[in-house]
Amino acid sequence: MLKPDSFRSSRWLAGLLALVCGALGACSSKGPDVVLYCALDQMFAETLVKEFESKTGLVVRAEYDVEAAKTVGLVKRIREERSRPRCDVFWNNELAHTVALANDGLLASYDSPSAANIPAEFRDPQHRWTAFAARARVFIVNTTLADPAQLTSLEDLFDPKWRGKVCMARPLTGTTLTHLTALYAAEGDAKGDEFVQRIEESGVNLVQSNGQVMRLVREGQMAWGLTDTDDFNVALNGGHPVAQVFPDQAPGARGALLIPNSVALLAEAPHPDAARKLIDFILSREVEEKLAFAEGAQIPVRADVKRPPHVKSAADLSLMRVDWARVGADIERRMTQFKERFLQ
């Protein structure tokens, strides 16, 4: 027979369990029609996701990468969830890690009809990923401290007259890591090593992120720096005295690096049909146009997509030739190399 105290204890325990289950249940909701992992900045992607939902009636569960994780957070999750994939569509704000996921067999083939007019160099021959709306690696220049016309090439970072006055993000994550990995892939190990050596020797200030590069330059703490076009546009829209310079545009120069968004269908995606619809929407001309007109000012890879006057067309630029398959394969090796060099 239960003693009164243990009877009360059981009731109390049952009550507590019911409370906990209720609280956890309250945190639950109806399952989504499609799960999107999105590394594009939340403030831009959210609007587009809502538009897709209202057009199709499908419920999207969009999960974003925290800025501190620089894409790698979602990539890490996709890999960790390999035994039970829960993501259907991966919208990456760069390409190298998407290629790495494809190399590891984590992506499925899907040749979206929306991608038909995207140039071939932005599409995987096996249709495991498609690239679109790009950022470019540019110099952001504080026009009160430096003349943009004086800057032409990436090598200007090492000019002694700018010593202590220029900055770039540490190449441990994000587009700066991709940029240096692409340099190695394009110009070989010897030139890559020389470039990295010069970064160290020339006193370039290595800061936390591209966002911090933008802040330091717009506030005049640095004369100029290497960052992405979206960061530059934030400073420009904020009314700061800044200009952008696309480096290496002279004939025969290496060209500016374009880092496109990429979208992919996950292998064993739980909701493949809805996922394909979402991919078709993301790759549509309308979305690329909206991204060009948004604050991030993404550069359309399709020449005929409308864009505001301050957004360059990919066709107007001299672009660096990039073997993305190699960049995707190399990126982890380079990350380890740069970590040992710059994290000291």
Partner: protein, 512 residues
């Protein structure tokens, strides 16, 4: 003690806090362990230890006098400055770093030392204040009669030092486990000022060696435990020491002409750590360099509430659930740790989840819960609550065990002699006596959960929280929105403690 209840609570704690860490261990290979001893890693570790020890020392130099002045003197506005002194601990150190690198133009290692010291001095201050209050008036009077106030202070010092050392140990632990401050402020430091926690974060991204981050975390975990175990021992000699039944409250020291300089000293510390950063956030919300206007502050708050409403609500719900779960766990486990034989040895196991790098716990949760049978739980908010409870339960448990130590065990014995069972004794006798400790633990977990980002970064449902949104907006220079959201978080963080201070008669137990 009700054994089934203790077993149930222990099982929940193990599941929430220890199992995710255990799930990561099989990933470690011998090559990963060998990497620990690479000269570069050892150099980073050595630098981090020096950094942590120096910060603990500076935090002590600031926190000890602050704790003494607000708790034992006739300094003006001491009652106001005392709760304000906790505020720097509640503000994410990254926000302090962002504000002070702009305002003071300090960079590199000195900036990291300064920001971390400001952020952690309240730990020493809290422990010091409590210890100074627990000195029996008669002992102090005897010393004062023999040699004046200086003699009284000299006799007090050995009594408060264990508590001060305990606070310093906690300051050390907080410092060595954070890399965001060093990472943010070291961009002009030559040589670069990197710390060991950054190496763990970097290794976490190397996919081909999944055990490397775990292996690299081991030395930092060992260092953390090596600091926490003495802290747990020291708190028994200091802040947690039982008060005898005829304890007499000590008299306040009269500062005379030093009253206002002392006030200025405390005000300066509080200003550097909380008031100026908060003012800067208001200024950012109001338009900052574009031209400050109060109307813009209102607009920024409207925007923050409009866009961040759902995220704020999620943050509050998760934090409330985690805090409530931790308070329940703390009542059972905190009491058991203090009363059970060998319980004190288990304290080092309890602190393991707060000593381990957050990202390991986060990946461990994926490994443990991302299965078909647990899919619904993994996808939704329940897993966030479990993760937060696992990470922070130790704070509530230690606060309750400290309060249990000060509780006369004869009360429980008397209840049991009168026929009350262990459960009834716990809920009817022990719990009411530990009310302020339970609430202190609840508030501690609520606050820590509300501002947590690292541990929840990879958890699906934690993707929609206020901290997540703040950090994503920082990137796009939405300074007004970020500032308004940060102020809303600060308001929520301070609210429970402020309400208690305003309406409760008893002082909140906030010390572990």
């Amino acid at each position: 003690m009700s054994r089934p209840l203790v077993a149930l609570a222990a099982a929940v704690f193990v599941l929430a806090g220890l199992a995710p860490l255990a799930a990561m261990v099989p990933r470690v290979e011998s090559a990963d362990l060998a990497a620990i001893f690479a000269p570069r890693n050892l150099e980073l570790l050595g630098r981090t230890l020096l950094y942590g020890a120096s910060v603990a020392l500076i935090a002590t130099a600031a926190g000890l006098p602050f704790g003494f002045l607000v708790s034992r003197t006739d300094m003006p506005f001491a009652a106001l400055l005392r709760p304000l002194g906790i505020a720097p601990l509640l503000i994410p150190p990254m926000i302090l770093a962002m504000v002070w690198t702009v305002l003071a133009d300090i960079r590199g290692a000195p900036a990291a030392y300064a920001v971390s010291s400001v952020s952690t001095f309240p730990l020493v201050a809290l422990f010091s204040a409590r210890a100074f209050e627990r000195i029996d008036a008669r002992r102090e009077e005897a010393a004062r009669i023999a040699g004046g106030w200086r003699a009284a202070l000299r006799s007090d010092l050995p009594l408060v030092l264990p508590s001060v050392a305990c606070g310093a140990c906690f300051a050390f632990v907080f410092t060595v486990n954070d890399f965001s401050v060093a990472d943010y402020v070291s961009w002009l430091g030559q040589p670069k000022f990197s710390v060991y926690a950054a190496e763990i974060f970097a290794n976490w991204r190397i996919e081909s060696r999944p055990g490397l981050a775990v292996a690299t975390a081991l030395p930092l975990l060992a260092v953390t435990l090596a600091a926490l175990v003495p802290a747990l021992v020291l708190r028994r000699r200091g802040a947690m020491a039982s008060l005898s039944g005829d304890f007499r409250q000590p008299e306040p020291f009269e500062l005379g002409p030093w009253r206002w300089p002392a006030f200025l000293f405390c005000l300066t510390l509080v200003s550097i750590g909380a008031l100026i950063p908060a003012a800067r956030l208001v200024w950012e919300a109001g338009g900052a360099a574009r031209g400050f206007e109060f109307a813009r502050v209102g607009q920024a708050f409207t925007l923050a509430i409009e866009r961040g409403r759902e995220d704020l609500a999620n943050s509050i719900v998760y934090s409330l659930c985690a805090a409530t779960a931790c308070a329940a766990l703390a009542l059972v486990l905190g009491h058991a740790l203090e009363r059970a034989r060998g319980g004190r040895w288990l304290e080092s196991l309890v602190v393991l989840p707060i000593g381990a790098p957050a990202v390991l716990l986060s990946v461990g949760v994926i490994v443990l819960w991302n299965h078909d049978w647990s899919a619904r739980f993994y996808d939704e908010g329940g897993v966030v609550v479990l993760l937060l409870a696992g990470r922070f339960a130790a704070f509530a448990i230690l606060i309750v065990s400290a309060a249990t130590a000060a509780l006369d065990p004869r009360l429980e014995e008397a209840a049991q002699l009168a026929g009350a069972g262990p459960f009834r004794t716990l809920t009817r006798i022990v719990a009411p006596s530990l009310r302020s400790a339970l609430l202190g633990g609840w508030i501690g977990v609520f606050v820590l959960s509300l501002r947590e980002l690292d541990a929840t970064m990879l958890t699906p449902a934690a993707n929609r929280t206020a901290m997540f949104r703040i950090f994503n907006q920082v990137h796009f220079g939405r300074d007004d929105f970020v500032a308004a959201m940060a102020l809303l978080i600060l308001f929520l963080v301070v609210l429970p403690g402020a309400l208690w201070s305003l309406f409760a008669r008893r002082r909140l137990e906030l010390l572990p």
